[in-house]
């Protein structure tokens, strides 16, 4: 079985190369892309029963490069399956969405390249490999965001994503190297076992470095500015990379390294704070956005905030379960939005409306996704969100729980607003065609998934308990299968926090539905709205940094004077400077 692991990682890469080689043969390219993506989805699902807590594959490179080792534990096989399956569905959706566009070979090759890298990222048990795959996903994300290279907004969005996630990536890189310097090895299980023997300051630095990397990748505070601009990407990419897979990498990183960094004072509290702040401010920005994809982007940031919050309170299983639900329903929402955008040609919700009759299937699946996002039973989002909240109430700070509860209400508000504006608001008659067959083929399984994935709670919990002894000490016990799921479901239904949350959801929805009397109040809140729309000043900070760097570069141009005398004078001055430096540094000894 050990060959199955590298095959799942590298088969899509092989597919990418073959798709590129197919050149201009459009039909062949599409068939190849779908075949490879589907094959990888099958392989990833096949990995699940083979999950274990021991490394399945290992290839030594040596020296400062460690080894390529793949470990199929609970986190790994679960996220690999999510990445591969949703990747496959996104590829199928793209068959209709990207029809007739230029550069499809490049598109499909990059998507396949990404899927392989994502699978490799979550299955790697070697820090160098984690960094390599992490950066490759960033590369693919950049290339796909700026896919329409002629559009300056897309190019700018791509570079912003690359740089902002890269800034966080510094933390991952430095932390990984620090672990290597201390441990002499890049092996993750080795580090996890010996983490408590690290010097406390070093461990804290590594822990916060990893937190920065995770926050940047998952578009959490203070790195949240790149995700809405990444919406310039074709919508299947937004669904795959920026909702269901790559942005989960940060959550995955925090979950995997949680036992090592939890003892660091202030670390879990920082994680909670990052999650809570992100969830709240993103929800407010989703409530004022008019671009359909921006609403969904901010809602992704917000839901990721829930997952990060859950990890901060120690609820690893709950966070991963919400990750599963979110991947499915957010991909569903994005692909549904893609169908709408493809049909209407615009992303502005103010020019939408009345689509419930023209695009009934799209409307139906979108509503299912919206119910999941808002957290209404029996859709999967309800169960996972309630579990996060419940655990947060029990183990986390109370102020965090209150803010999250308010965020739940806000989520219901902006979700209802979005659904209303797109599908149900009265609008003049305009042409809109229903989603094509390939789009439907991707949407329907996701809708079904949103309705049923919560039933996997029991087997999923068992998988995690079985393969991750460090994260879940103690024996599985409760048994696997649907019986465990019913037990978990019963627990959720009888918890008081569930009913409290449902109440808040109802309040949030009601606030939107009955908003007419509140418009005066809304007028008073206009300055707040403007601040929210401007991203709470973070966009200004980004622009300021870019401007400062460019102006410094521009200012340095005087050094390239073109005057030979000055150039030679610089050489002579360098002699003097170096001479002084040598005297100062060298001192008298040797």
């Amino acid at each position: 079985m050990s060959w199955l692991l590298p095959l799942t990682v590298f088969l899509p890469w092989l597919g990418a190369g073959i798709v590129l080689a197919a050149g201009r043969a459009a039909r062949l390219r599409t068939v190849l892309a779908v075949t490879f993506a589907a094959a990888d989805a099958v392989l990833a699902i096949l990995l699940i029963p083979l999950a274990s807590s021991r490394a399945g594959f290992s290839l030594t490179i040596g020296g400062a490069f460690g080894e390529l080792s793949l470990l199929p534990d609970g986190f790994g096989v679960f996220l690999a399956a999510v990445a591969a399956v949703i990747g496959g569905l996104a590829v199928v959706f793209s068959v209709d969405y990207m029809r007739g566009e230029e550069g499809q070979g490049r598109y499909y090759a990059l998507v396949l390249f990404f899927i392989g890298a994502m699978v490799g990222l979550v299955l790697s048990s070697n820090l160098l490999m984690v960094v390599v795959f992490w950066e490759i996903t960033a590369l693919c994300s950049w290339a796909l965001i700026s896919f329409h290279n002629d559009d300056p907004k897309a190019v700018a969005g791509g570079i912003k994503a690359l740089i902002v996630t890269g800034l966080g990536g510094v933390g991952l890189l430095a932390g990984s190297l620090a672990i290597y310097a201390q441990d002499g090895s890049f092996d993750i299980p080795t580090f996890m076992a010996r983490a408590n023997s690290f010097p406390p300051q070093l461990l804290a630095l590594i822990g916060f470095g990893f937190l920065a990397a995770a926050a940047a990748k998952s578009a959490q505070f203070p790195f949240q500015t790149w995700l809405p601009d990444a919406m310039e990407a074709p919508t299947p990419i937004s669904a795959l990379i920026h909702a269901a897979t790559m942005v989960n990498a940060g959550v995955y990183l925090l979950a995997r390294f949680f036992p090592a960094f939890n003892p660091v004072p202030g670390w879990s509290l920082s994680v909670v704070a990052v999650g809570v702040v992100s969830a709240f401010i993103a929800a407010t920005m989703a409530a004022v956005a008019n671009d359909l994809k921006r609403v969904l982007a901010w809602s992704t940031v917000s839901q990721l905030g829930f997952m990060v919050y859950a990890i901060g309170t120690g609820a690893i299983f709950q966070s991963q379960f919400h990750l599963l639900s979110h991947s499915v329903f957010k991909a569903l929402l994005f692909l549904g939005a893609g169908a709408v955008i493809h049909s209407l040609g615009t992303r502005d919700m103010r020019s939408m409306g009345g689509l419930s009759r023209k695009m009934p299937l799209t409307c139906a699946v979108f509503v299912v996704g919206a119910l999941a996002l808002a957290g209404i039973p029996p859709v999967n989002g309800f169960w996972s969100k309630e579990m996060v909240l419940e655990s947060g109430l029990q183990h986390g700070p109370f102020w965090a729980y209150v803010v999250m509860l308010v965020t739940v209400g806000l989520t219901a508000l902006y979700t209802l607003r979005c659904v209303w504006m797109v599908f149900f608001a009265p609008a003049e008659d305009r042409h809109a065609h229903e989603a094509g067959p390939a789009m439907k083929a991707a949407l329907i399984p996701l809708a079904i998934g949103s309705l049923v994935t919560w039933m996997l709670a029991g087997p999923f919990k068992d998988l995690l308990l079985r393969t991750l002894p460090l994260h879940f000490p103690g024996s599985p016990g409760e048994g696997s299968g649907l019986a465990a799921t019913w037990a978990i479901a019963a627990e959720v239904l009888t918890a008081p926090s569930t009913w409290l949350a449902l109440g808040v959801v109802a309040v949030g929805a009601a606030l939107w539905a009955a908003r007419a009397p509140f418009t005066k109040l809304g007028g008073g809140l206009r300055p707040v709205r403007r601040v929210a729309e401007a991203g709470y000043g973070f966009e200004a900070i980004n622009r300021g940094i870019v401007k400062a760097v460019q102006e410094t570069g521009e200012g340095l141009r005087v050094t390239q004077s073109g005057l030979l005398n000055w150039n030679v004078a610089a050489i002579v001055m360098a002699v003097i400077v170096v001479l002084c430096a040598v005297w100062l540094v060298g001192g008298q000894g040797g």
Binding site: G62, V132, I136, A138, G553, T559, A574, A581, V582, W583
Partner: protein, 519 residues
């Protein structure tokens, strides 16, 4: 013939044959000119000088391979003629590998690139001579020898930079390069003089022992070391001695730009290491100097490249940054005794030679197809690259691989060599080293700010005017691109491939700067 060891032929062959290469090319050209006087139109035939020079380069690889085999088997490869000493060790191995590989590919590339220009026989002859001189420098084991090879390579490169002597910009670039490099060479010569005046010895190995004996005046030796740093630093393009580089690299024919950025700079680095090693024992400052220059080079190179709109100038400034990474790696090795730093620094030498060589050759292919083949001698602007990927898919993909590799993105070679350097820095444990590593990583990220837009430009759907009117790229230029791209990807996917070159070179560097005598 049997008096000389076989590896010396690697150096001798390109140099000794270069006048004959020139003669051959000249004779062919004269014959063509004469026949054109008699007949109105003679069909154009390629000057065979390009094949002859390529063949000589390929033949020179044979003694190199033999030397590699012998070195790996543990033999000592030395030759001493009077006071001239040559030695083939790990550093020579790595430098020769880079010079020969890039030299062969540039030779192949240059055939069609300057194939329609007059004076191409000079180009090929000088290219061979420059390569031979660099190979000699790699093997130099005494200071005099080192300086002579250094000057020879420099003189050949001055003429190659100013090859397009009908263009004022080329002449200006060549002139500035000549003057500044001569200043640098003069400083080195004064430094050598200082060392000689104190010890009376020029042989590197013997010098180390003599200096360690402690009878020489320490201040004078420190002054000599300073002069070596700055003198060779001009060639290595350390800031602030770098000002010749953007002009020279952008005005030179693209094959020469590739050589300059790819190996000539690195040759200067090797020369610096060899000469500094003599006085390594007397102070710990050299490591700090290397680290300081490395840090400054990285940020200045990045900031200056950020605002460039000419492709070759952008690539030239980015060479400053990559020299910075190499200096950082070597600085970690010298200051903190980190062997991984030495290996990483020389590994980056290899990957940079491959990536920057690839970038310049790809940019050169586009420059040729879009401008030169129409007689337009203007520079290649970033706006010219718009939509180039549709007409020139292979060239654009090769340029993409080069640019993303230079930006340090996996799975390409640049990431792996930078990783090794950063690992060395963190392993050193000192706070200064860790701050430098984080600074270097941030610089790597900043560099993406100018590489990524170039790649985006390539893959636009609306092509620029010059792309629409562009000519074909000859096969002779595409083959080196493909080969270099494969090398860049191979180093990125399996960095251990370079171990055969980087480990010996790294251990030589460590031995050169170890605080005991020896070497």
């Amino acid at each position: 013939m049997s008096v000389w060891p076989h590896w010396v032929w690697m150096i001798a062959l390109p140099i000794v044959t270069s006048p004959f290469v020139y003669l051959l090319g000249r004779l062919f050209q004269r014959a063509r000119d004469a026949s054109e006087l008699h007949r109105a139109r003679t069909p154009w035939r390629a000057n065979p000088v390009r094949w002859v020079s390529l063949a000589i380069m390929l033949v020179s690889c044979v003694p190199f391979a033999a030397a590699w085999r012998d070195l790996a088997a543990g033999e000592t490869l030395k030759l001493t003629v009077g006071i001239i000493a040559l030695k083939f060790d790990g550093i020579s191995l790595l430098l020769s590998a880079a010079v020969l590989a890039l030299g062969v590919l540039v030779s192949l590339f240059s055939g069609p690139y300057i194939g329609h220009e007059s004076g191409q026989e000079k180009y090929h002859a000088l290219l061979n001579a420059m390569i031979g001189a660099m190979l000699g420098l790699g093997c130099a084991a005494d200071l005099f020898n080192l300086w002579v090879w250094f000057e020879t390579a420099a003189i050949a490169s001055y003429m190659l930079v100013a090859y397009h002597s009908d263009r004022p910009a080329s002449l200006e670039a060549g002139m500035k390069y000549l003057v500044q490099n001569s200043v640098g060479s003069m400083l080195v010569l004064i430094g050598i003089g200082l060392v000689f005046s104190q010890t009376g010895i020029l042989n590197l190995a013997e010098l180390r022992i003599a200096v360690a004996a402690g009878t020489a005046s320490r201040p004078l030796l420190l002054a000599a070391g300073t002069l070596f740093c700055v003198g060779f630093g001009v060639k290595i393009a350390m800031v602030p001695m770098h000002t010749w580089l953007p002009d020279a690299h952008s005005q030179a024919p693209s094959g020469i730009s590739a050589m300059l950025s790819g190996v000539v700079i690195e040759t200067g680095l090797v020369a610096l290491l060899r000469s500094l090693s003599v006085i390594a024992n007397i102070t710990s400052a050299w490591g700090a100097i290397l680290l300081g220059f490395g840090a400054v080079n990285m940020i200045v190179g990045n900031l200056l490249a950020l605002r460039q709109t000419q492709v070759k100038r952008l690539l030239a400034f980015s060479s400053l940054t990559h020299v910075g990474y190499m200096l950082l790696g070597l600085g970690f090795a010298v200051s903190f005794g980190q062997a991984a730093g030495a290996q990483g620094g020389v590994f980056h030498l290899l990957t940079h030679a491959a990536m920057k060589g690839l970038a310049f050759l790809a940019a050169g292919s586009l420059l040729f197809a879009l401008r030169l083949s129409h007689g337009d001698s203007g520079p290649l602007e970033t706006a010219d690259l718009a939509g180039a990927a549709r007409r020139y898919p292979v060239t654009a993909f090769a340029l993409t691989i080069a640019l993303l590799g230079l930006g340090g993105l996996p799975p390409l070679g640049g990431f792996m060599s930078k990783w090794q350097i950063f690992a060395a820095g963190v392993q050193a444990g000192s706070p200064v080293a860790i701050v430098l590593v984080i600074f270097a990583v941030l610089n790597s990220l900043l560099s993406l700010g100018y590489y990524a837009p170039l790649v985006s430009m390539l893959y636009r759907t609306t092509p620029s005017q010059v792309v629409i009117a562009g000519a074909r790229v000859p096969v002779g230029m595409t083959v080196p691109l493909v080969l270099l791209a494969v090398v860049v990807v191979a180093f990125g996917v399996w960095p251990a491939l370079a171990n055969g070159l980087t480990v010996p070179a790294g251990s030589v560097v460590m031995a050169l700067f170890s605080r005991q005598g020896g070497m």
